[in-house]
Symmetry: C2
Subunit: 253 residues, 2 copies
DNA sequence: CGGTGCAGTTGATCCTGATCAATACACCGT
DNA sequence: ACGGTGTATTGATCAGGATCAACTGCACCG
């Protein structure tokens, strides 16, 4: 049980926070925001961009957005909810590759093989903006800003992939994971110290290449060290700097 | 000591093989081959492309091609030799991110931060083709084929990054590593069963997130299992299928 | 020549995190 | 209320690989 005082911020659950911002601010924090709404483009070009955007969803928790091997036609920007991507090796074991939060883009690793190389599964109810990729790359050919945005998105994801590389201790991995999540929420305009873990302990463990039991233990340890408070999946970072410090060797890239 | 009979192939060292092919076939196997020489483009466009290519090197083993934080201006295609990329965390420990063989491209992960996020270090004498990235992306805007090639290269590298993810045993990692190397050599027109390991045991260990001692032990084990023959850094795959089988859980992506 | 330094191999021991197992708890439909 | 199911936590034991250490082979060099 958590003490009563620090619980106060949770009396307004994060989900309401999310909902409140979605309508007003989503597009501003989306990875394509500049392309979609920012000025600087001519009106006709903006119109073209909006033509290739299409809203998709909702998908309920557990539903597949796409599956390994599906033909690649579109990339997805998460509007609300959260998504995990994963592959299943031939022995049937799942490998979680990543989590995607509102404003983030899924599907870029499908460009090369021209098929989705992984599954994307909703962790909770999810809405998307769907961008037709052929249309988008055609547009990119005429709008350098769009092309550059795509290059940068791809390159950025490349940098992210090395986050879980490295032989670091369970504590370091977890600290880096929480700090990364917090940062990503903060960038999108959500609280960077208090948020909901959309994924199960098992998914976290799988992503960090740990056992679920180890995840539990590390989180318990963090709690006794007063680094975090945690009730179920509601997380409060008590000492973000301490966590960042702990995970620094993973985050410095 | 290796038995005399199986050593025969090594009487002609791989390096001569490399040299023989470089002049004639390099461009054909380079990641940019289609862009650089393939037909289908108009002559003026080809001329433009050749304008932005510039030969660089040689760099001797141990020399830096670029360093973390250097401003990003060009991407590099390896012509001869081999390169490792690595980052150094704040405690001064090196983390090897990848190895690059002839025909492969370095520097794509620098697009987003606009600075190189890692060091690139020659493992042996290296020559490059250097492509100005601003010029290249400008060209991409006019030549859809170039744009698509860049997208695909980026996306492909994205898929590669997950090779060393996953909690696999030392044997599996090593088998997957050797199989991957063999495949990449084969794709570029070199022998896929017999090649030179340009990197030290320490670098391999670092890349695979193992201790150097473990690398030694695994390689010894592979040797007694008649999967490979190994003398110094000269490698012969005796049972490529066996190795592939062993590493399959890592390679299936 | 012996000296020095580095890369690699092999052996002995230790520790982190996986695995097996039991329990607690929330949520569900009947 | 009752199981039934899925998720999370905690404890006990075990093993794979890290670490420490000794030793070899080899290149380089004064």
């Amino acid at each position: 049980m958590l003490p009563r005082k620090p619980l106060d911020p949770w009396l307004e659950p994060p989900s309401s926070l999310v909902d409140a911002r979605v309508g007003a601010h989503f597009c501003l924090t989306c990875a394509f925001s500049e392309a979609c709404i920012a000025g600087g483009y001519d009106k006709p070009e903006q119109a073209e961009l909006h033509c290739l955007v299409e809203h998709a969803g909702p998908f309920r928790g557990g539903e597949y957005i796409f599956r390994t091997g599906d033909p690649f036609r579109s990339i997805f920007a998460v509007r609300t909810g959260a998504v995990k991507t994963s592959v299943v090796d031939k022995d049937g074991r799942e490998q979680v590759l990543g989590f995607y939060l509102p404003g983030e883009v899924i599907g870029l690793n499908a460009i090369y093989p021209d098929r989705f190389p992984c599954n994307a599964i909703a962790l909770e109810t999810v809405h998307f903006c769907r961008f037709s990729f052929p249309a988008m790359s055609a547009l990119a050919a005429r709008m350098p800003a769009v092309q550059q945005r795509l290059f940068r998105l791809l390159s950025k994801e490349l940098g992210m992939a090395s986050l879980l590389a490295g032989d670091h201790s369970a504590d370091v991995r977890m600290a880096a994971f929480l700090t990364d999540l917090a940062h990503r929420y903060a960038v999108r305009g959500f609280s960077g110290t208090q948020f909901h873990l959309s994924m199960s302990r098992g998914d976290i463990a799988n992503y960090l290449r740990l056992a679920a039991e180890t995840v539990s233990r590390v989180l318990s340890r963090f709690r006794t060290q007063r680094l975090i408070e945690l009730e179920g999946r509601e997380l409060l970072l008590l000492d973000p700097d301490g966590l960042r410090e702990l995970g620094q060797s993973l985050l410095s890239r």
